[in-house]
């Protein structure tokens, strides 16, 4: 009987000419037909009314922050407690919706893939973070959200940390963005620098083992990697290096990005076309100290990371203010979210989280991240929903808002779920009760409702599994291999269906840049 139902579900899912979801969602959908119907009706009504009022689809701004943990912002019990005041981010949460259960991939490149493609990175052939000098990139067969939104008539632009491949064929201007101002790297070349742009030479407790670093100007010579600078690019045109890479330059990228974004909003506020902005800010990964923000907002002058947060916090406010000033706040969804948990390797100037683990791990500290959504008039203020939302959902939700859900390719599994109903109606309206936590190609954990299984391996006669009730034990302290079928079986079923669909839709192969001096590798 059970097999029959399962087969019927698979048949059903393949017969629809729609988004190819994971089996976990298909099962959820099957059980929640009434909620789905009612949610869809309400969402359609709200979006239609809005489109009538503004004469176009809503603008979308996604701000992806870097390594900011669950517990860093004031509104997540950080702020004063951690010496990292974030009054404007807190204010954004007050005016909108603060996610208590928003989840990312466990590191930088993977989360960028998730938000751009709506897919867990392992499906795309990418299994980790790109390091400077890599010739690989996100395979060009992947369809990115700016490509879809361009089809829907959106103007698209990105600022900040691309990190999806160094070669031009992987670059944002060739992957759907009309305009881009970016670096191809993570913080590796710039981190641990003082205000003058030199590697830290002062006595910073805990950073003593970095003393041997060369001055930043010697980086290229030292490691044989010709670092690429800051690029500016327009769709279809050759990108220009507008600044050389240095610690000082990087400190200015945040402010320059914010200034350009504000101008972009002003230029496009009255346009017939809506816009999509993707701001992948480097705050707070640089772990450097922007000079102008060192002594502001009660930030301890020795605390580089807090100064970076302060800089970002100030810029965020300017952007939200601009939306109000231009009269388009009510037609603009702004989502702010972190790409993963804190990177403790940067300690003592790293971020922090209340949770167990950090960046690179599938424990909550690596993947449960601060996130909020702001949309005056559409998202009721002062909400803090506990329902689940995952980074991939931002892809599918943007497609729905842009009216291009039908353009999402259905020859691949899309992990993202349309969460428009959740954004517009809050708790009780998330269409997700599960998460697959991948670390590279390894399925590291699954969550279904409150139960999470950490999958460590199959070392002995029984699987090495830790079972947590994330609601009772958010810090994952009391993991046990529970003998209770009711606790583990739902997760087992989830994994079974998930793996069957992977066989049907195999993961993509890696793609590299044949022009690279390093040559392709796999």
């Amino acid at each position: 009987m059970k097999t029959f139902v399962f087969a019927a579900l698979i048949a059903m899912c393949f017969s629809l000419n729609a988004v190819q979801h994971d089996m976990a969602y298909i099962k959820w959908e099957d059980k929640h037909q009434d909620l789905l119907k009612s949610d869809n009706q309400k969402v359609n009504e709200k979006l239609r009314a809005l489109e009538k009022r503004f004469g176009k689809k809503p603008n979308i701004i996604y701000i992806l922050a870097d390594d900011i943990g669950w517990g860093e912002l004031g509104c997540y019990l950080g702020g004063k407690v951690r010496g990292t005041p974030t009054p404007e981010l807190d204010n954004m949460a007050d005016e909108g919706m603060k996610f208590l259960s928003s989840y990312s991939e466990p590191s930088c490149t993977p989360s960028r893939i998730a938000i751009m493609t709506g897919r867990h990175p392992f499906r795309t052939g990418v299994d980790g973070v790109y390091w400077p000098g890599s010739d690989e990139g996100l395979p060009t067969e992947e369809v990115l959200i700016p490509q879809l939104l361009s089809k829907a008539g959106y103007k698209t632009a990105m600022w900040g940390k691309w990190h999806l491949g160094e070669a031009e064929k992987f670059a944002p201007e060739n992957r759907g963005f009309d305009y881009a101002y970016y670096t191809v790297y993570n913080g590796a070349p710039f981190a641990w620098v003082d205000v003058e742009g030199h590697y830290e030479k002062e006595t910073v407790p805990g950073s003593a083992f970095f003393y041997d670093f060369p001055g930043e100007k010697k980086y290229d010579e030292q490691y044989g990697i010709a670092l690429q600078g800051i690029y500016q690019a327009k769709k279809g045109q050759k990108r220009k290096e507008v600044a050389k890479l240095s610690a000082i330059t990087m400190q200015k990228v945040e402010d320059t990005s914010a200034k350009e974004i504000i101008q972009y909003i002003k230029d496009n506020a009255k346009s017939k076309q809506p816009f999509f902005i993707y701001w992948a800010t480097l705050a707070q990964q640089l772990a450097s100290s922007p000079k102008d923000y060192r002594f502001e907002k009660n930030v301890d002058s020795r605390n580089n990371q807090a100064a970076e947060l302060g800089q970002h916090d100030t810029n965020l406010k300017k952007i939200l203010d601009t939306l109000h000033d231009q009269g388009i706040a009510e037609n603009t969804l702004v989502v702010w979210i972190s790409d993963n948990g804190p990177m403790y390797a940067f300690w003592p100037t790293s971020g922090y989280t209340w949770l167990r683990g950090g960046k690179g791990e599938v424990y909550e500290g690596g993947v449960r991240i601060p996130g909020m959504a702001w949309w005056p008039g559409m998202i009721e203020e002062g909400q803090d929903p506990i329902d689940l939302i995952q980074m991939t959902d931002l892809f599918t939700t943007a497609a729905r808002l842009g009216g291009v859900t039908d353009d999402i390719p259905n020859d691949r599994v899309i992990d993202g779920i349309d969460q428009t109903a959740f954004l517009l109606m809050g708790d009780g309206h998330s269409h997700r009760n599960f998460i697959f936590h991948y670390n590279g190609n390894h399925l590291g954990a699954v969550r279904i409702n409150d139960i999470k299984l950490i999958i460590k391996g199959t070392g002995g006669s029984i699987p090495e599994i830790e079972t947590y009730n994330i609601k009772r034990d958010p810090c994952e302290r009391f993991g046990k291999l529970y003998p209770y079928l009711w606790m583990v079986q739902p997760a087992q079923d989830l994994i079974k269906g998930h793996l069957q669909l992977i066989q049907k839709f195999p993961n993509r192969k890696k793609e590299s840049d044949s022009q690279s001096t390093f040559g392709p590798h796999d």
Copy 2:
């Protein structure tokens, strides 16, 4: 030179006919004369104006909760996240002041001593928690805050868990309270019971090792301890046992206490005398599930602890509402605070904290506790100060509010600091930059400004010390034996002065009840 200053300070402190503070405070005081003067002036003005308006000193209500960790309440990122909604406690915080750095002693009896005497328990000869059957009690030479406030003309009353000795000479009605309704025990005889008052027989994950417990009615026979029931008492009269001890009785104690408190407030609202209420609620130590609150407020029906919090949350609101209804909210300080961190022995129905460790430890999880102060018109709403406050401070602050600071005996060290300025003016006005964390008679940790030293022993050639920056690392993950003098020396100086004063004012000896069937022991 340094020795000279130190000697001068000691001389100064002994020459004053005032509260005998710890050397740590005397040094702080010496450096902050201007702030103290200005704070005192403002506090005096505010209190004088209030007394003029109401014709009496302010009422004081201290609510001491049981084992509620930093991270359990909604306003400490618990609530929805943990499945323990506390809307009314959150509301109290919104309307007043939420302490981000309030500290208790690490367990029940010690925190009760701290709030009642203003002294760290080790000074009073008490080194731990009383277990049912103990003949010891808080030495009767200790002067309790209800005794002082009685002198000031206050009516004094207490409800809940006394836990400072079983014998009558140690009982609240003989220690300064006009009225008391109480149990002498901690939760040991009642915990782990189901709604019907029986020990849990169902399959509760994690509690399997309790299956061998006898039914609760057999407790006396089983352990040879004649359990005392719920007492009601008036000053100078013999106490009456108004209910036998059972799990069902205990579940009703919370509601009965709240009802009596509300009636007491009504009866005394218009009195010429102010009142002092000390409510030592058993919520949430029972880890049982009050039937009426099981399904309220989205509480998971299996979650006993959340049901208990729900019950307390509901009662708290009724009390605050009564103060408003009676027109005395603006003349009543209400402080709500937990006695220590979570007791994980009760897992999975225990409390929780974001911090490291729990009850019985001097890591933050044991001693950093939720706390708030509420006083409409006097305490500005919406504050969340990060400045330090310690349980002993509640003694000294109550004495100041009652105008009986001069009656505090000066033949002993008082650890509590008058924090009236902090309550009335918030961050920047705490008169404390240090804490001594004792665990029994062992000085387990000291905190000065952001730096905390965990003192583990002197095992080898160097002291076993962990050094934390509590602001950067509130979970105490990156402890090191730092070689930096600037980091460790202030704490060393703190300890030195502290120990010198202990030599001058030796700790009291234990006191026991000679009537006890067990006889005295030391």
